[in-house]
């Protein structure tokens, strides 16, 4: 413990990481997922998003190790003859893309709002924070559904499919920014009183330079924790929307879409269509969550 206290914050984090087997496993899993998603075109045996590769006569094949299984399709196939292994790889690609982008989007928005509100104070603060409060009263999923519904009403189906991924990122991201705004605002209020800010003011630095150059780096720790936990939530939100049929179109299934398709075949015994994507989703969300939990504890000085 003594070396934790005496070490630099970064080194302390590293020591805490090495001492937590859970964190190591979680990080390993997250990295594996990221790697799999990145290398999907090379790891997959087919491109499940290209209908030309799907052979209907290969549909509903069970996993390779069962008696009727085929060695070509390790985890079996779905109702269109899609290889489940490839579909999961490409599906997690979508899940991670949407999750990471949505978090980046809401974090950027939330941090900016939080910094402005915290530093400027006055009517800007009141306006921005009340806006955040109002949005917090509406469940995130409802906002996402509303954004999706609006975009479908306004855009032609052709246009909507083209930007389905971006709409999903926007719909999930827009729901989450108040979290970041509130945390950043309170951290900013604390930092604003500290000596280095007064010093910077005295030396004539502009407000923008103070906010982004001095305060921002000091509030990032708390944002990091929020973002990691938010990533898990965003991944689940994407799966939920796709499960409800308002996410990715069925021809480019994400994990949630695959689970929805498989759900139709649970009673008839084709369990693999829904089980494997579900397992992948659970593992992905769980490992990201564990990582976030560890990060929160490790960065909280009171828990050391």
């Amino acid at each position: 413990m003594t070396n934790v206290l005496s070490a630099s914050p970064r080194a302390a984090l590293w020591i805490s990481f090495r001492q937590s087997p859970l964190a190591i496993v979680a990080t390993g899993l997250v990295l594996t997922f990221l790697l799999c998603a990145f290398l999907a075109p090379w790891l997959a045996t087919q491109n499940p998003f290209d209908p030309i590769n799907l052979e209907l006569m290969n549909s509903f094949l069970p996993p390779a190790w069962t008696t009727e299984g085929s060695s070509t399709f390790i985890l079996g196939t779905d109702d269109q003859g899609r290889d489940m292994w490839s579909a999961i790889l490409y599906g997690s690609r979508i899940s991670l893309t949407v999750g990471l982008s949505a978090v980046a989007f809401s974090a950027t928005l939330g941090i900016t709002v939080g910094l402005i509100a915290g530093y400027a104070g006055g009517w800007a603060e009141t306006l921005l924070m009340r806006l955040a409060d109002v949005q917090l009263t509406i469940p995130a999923l409802l906002i996402a559904l509303m954004v999706d519904g609006l975009s479908r009403a306004v855009l032609s189906p052709e246009a909507h499919d083209g930007i389905a991924l971006y709409m999903l990122i926007f719909a999930i991201g827009i729901a989450d920014w108040p979290q970041y705004a509130r945390v950043v605002r309170s951290a900013t209020l604390v930092q604003k009183q500290s000596g280095y800010v007064a010093q910077a003011k005295l030396s004539g630095a502009s407000s923008v330079a103070i906010v982004f150059g001095h305060i921002l780096p000091n509030v990032m720790t708390s944002v990091l924790v929020l973002a990691t936990l938010g990533l898990a939530l965003a991944i689940i939100a994407e799966a939920t929307l796709s499960f409800l049929g308002v996410g990715m179109p069925p021809t480019t299934p994400s994990l949630g879409t695959l689970i929805r398709i498989g759900n139709d075949y649970l009673f008839s015994g084709e369990w693999w269509i829904t089980l494997f994507p579900s397992l992948a989703l659970v593992m992905l969300a769980l490992s990201v969550n564990l990582l976030g939990d560890w990060l929160r504890d490790a960065l909280n000085p009171r828990l050391r």
Binding site: L56, M57, Q80, E158, D161, P250, Y265, F267
Partner: protein
């Protein structure tokens, strides 16, 4: 003390009384709801199936699709072959107590012939309906029409007084999104009365104690029908397995084996008189959803032939329909007059030749188009469309799939906004003319192929008035061959039907997939 005793008696009565005087309730489900309760506004399966319980036609069909007296006791041609006479049932009342008379029949036929009626083409030959006296109606047709009674089994009779009172003398215009009183309120003469209507949530019907059919042999014994649409197939099956539902209309084919094995549940199946197919808009200069500008790939016969050759119907039937369907080469299903196995022969499956045909037509690089598809109307409709997307991709046609609920899909067809659409067609009349008229004639709301063949159109018009049945059959055969050769449709399969229900419910399966609860019996 006495007060407490009386309370106790009341409580016990309400607990046990309800079981002693148990109502026979049938809870059923299908993937989609009726689009409207206006009986003339939409020629669509679930809509007619719902209207059927509340309203009645002059002529009913039984479970074998044979004609049966409905509100008319008897009918026949008069000396003039263009005039049919119907003798009406007396003493029938509407649900609101009004007496049913010939005037209501005249009103209903006039209403069903109005421009906003979706049934007007079925009875397109009807010139007018006239009341001879209170219980006799004469219907005059344009030229002789030997099959008029077959054509009016979906023409439901409404009360003139009620319609005038509620300002619904004309049918609702569904395609434009109109809302009228008749959309959520009903007043028929049928075996069941509308008790509660929450579109897409729940529709409750209760027994009409005044219904004339209750006086006949073995009447139905259903007191209450609760319909709950459940769009998710797995949820529907779960509800049947858990006992929450008594009857599921469109059970997913993959779950039939499981349900057969479950004690207390029964499966009934029959070939349905319904073909599932895709229509191609060949008429317009340029497809709205295609990357090809300035010309319409579908207007080239070779492209249509290629598409017909690219679709593996056997694979769809085996894998997606699990054998509960027959691959189709024509739009008419077996069992309807005019069907022949020769015309129903499948186009040759040959993707390589199809690709060559496309190249021949100048589309060697393929083209893109959007396929409009339902996801809550036909058995496994979305999966079928997805499979077709893959099959067409193999010959170079990039199809973007737009699968959505029928409430959005059907108006898109009717408003002529679709380039390429999935559709199923059953038979309201069990006669070929119904199909030919709706699916080949120009400017019919359900034909968006833009087919232009004046000779065929004249032929179809002639079929409507031909009284020589041998000659008529020949004309029908020629017309079908001609329509098939035009290849403006890609027929997929003849849908099979499987109804699943608790075995204590007896409800005859109907080849038109429209349950008639007036024929139902619940075992006590």
């Amino acid at each position: 003390m006495t007060m407490r005793f009386i309370t106790l008696v009341f409580v016990l009565m309400s607990v046990f009384g309800s079981t002693v005087l148990a109502e026979n309730t049938v809870r059923w489900s299908a993937q989609g709801d009726a689009i409207t309760l206006d009986p003339h506004a939409q020629n669509e399966g679930m809509t007619l199936a719902t209207a059927k319980q509340i309203y009645e036609p002059l002529v009913h069909r039984d479970e074998t699709m044979a004609l049966q007296p409905g509100l008319a006791l008897s009918w026949g041609l008069t000396a003039d072959p263009t005039v049919w006479e119907f003798v009406l049932r007396q003493g029938v009342t509407f649900h609101d107590g009004r007496l049913f008379t010939a005037d209501d029949v005249v009103f209903s036929f006039t209403r069903a012939l109005m421009p906003t009626s979706d049934l007007k083409d079925i009875i397109g030959t009807v010139r007018e309906a006239v009341a001879v006296d209170d219980f006799t109606v004469r219907i005059t047709t344009e030229g002789p029409n030997p099959i008029l009674p077959q054509q009016i089994t979906d023409i439901y009779i409404m009360s003139r007084g009620w319609a005038e009172e509620n300002n619904v003398t004309g049918p609702q215009d569904v395609a434009s999104g109109e809302e009228t009183y008749a959309v959520r309120h009903t007043n028929g003469t049928g075996p069941f009365i509308l008790n509660l209507r929450e579109p897409d949530v729940r529709t409750v019907l209760t027994k009409n104690p005044q219904w004339w059919g209750l006086q006949e042999d073995e009447p139905h014994n259903v007191d209450r029908i609760i319909f709950t649409p459940v769009s998710n197939a797995a949820t529907r099956v779960a509800a049947l397995l858990s006992g929450e539902l008594d009857f599921v209309l469109d059970t997913p084919v993959q779950d039939l084996a499981r349900i057969r094995r479950t004690p207390g549940l029964a499966v009934q199946s029959t070939p349905e008189v319904r073909a599932i197919f895709m229509g191609l808009d060949t008429g317009r200069v340029e497809l709205r959803s295609s990357n090809i500008k300035g010309k319409n790939p579908f207007s080239d016969l070779r492209v249509r032939q290629a598409m017909n050759m690219a679709v593996d119907r056997n694979a769809i039937v085996q894998r997606i329909m699990r054998g509960v369907a027959e691959p189709a080469g024509m739009l008419l299903s077996p069992g309807i007059g005019g069907y022949t196995e020769e015309i129903d022969a499948l186009p040759k499956l040959d993707p390589a030749a199809a690709r060559a045909l496309l190249a021949d037509a100048g589309y060697a690089g393929g083209f893109s188009v959007t396929l409009d598809c339902t996801n809550d109307r036909y058995m496994n409709d979305e999966a079928i469309c997805q499979a077709v997307v893959g099959m067409l991709a193999r010959i170079g046609i990039t199809v973007r799939l737009d699968a959505k609920t029928k409430v959005l899909h059907f108006p898109k067809i009717q408003n002529n906004e679709s380039d390429f659409y999935l559709l199923g067609w059953g038979s309201g009349t069990m006669d070929s003319h119904y199909h030919l008229d709706f699916l080949a004639m120009p400017d019919r709301a359900w034909n968006r192929t833009g087919l232009h063949d004046p000779e065929l159109f004249t032929m179809i018009d002639d079929i409507a008035i031909e009284t020589d049945l041998v000659k008529r059959d020949e004309m029908i055969n020629t017309a079908w061959l001609r329509l098939k050769a035009a290849e403006v449709y890609v027929p997929l399969h003849h849908q099979g039907l499987a109804w699943t229900m608790k075995d204590r419910l007896s409800l005859p399966i109907q080849p038109d997939n429209q349950p008639q609860f007036r024929l139902a019996r619940v075992a006590e």
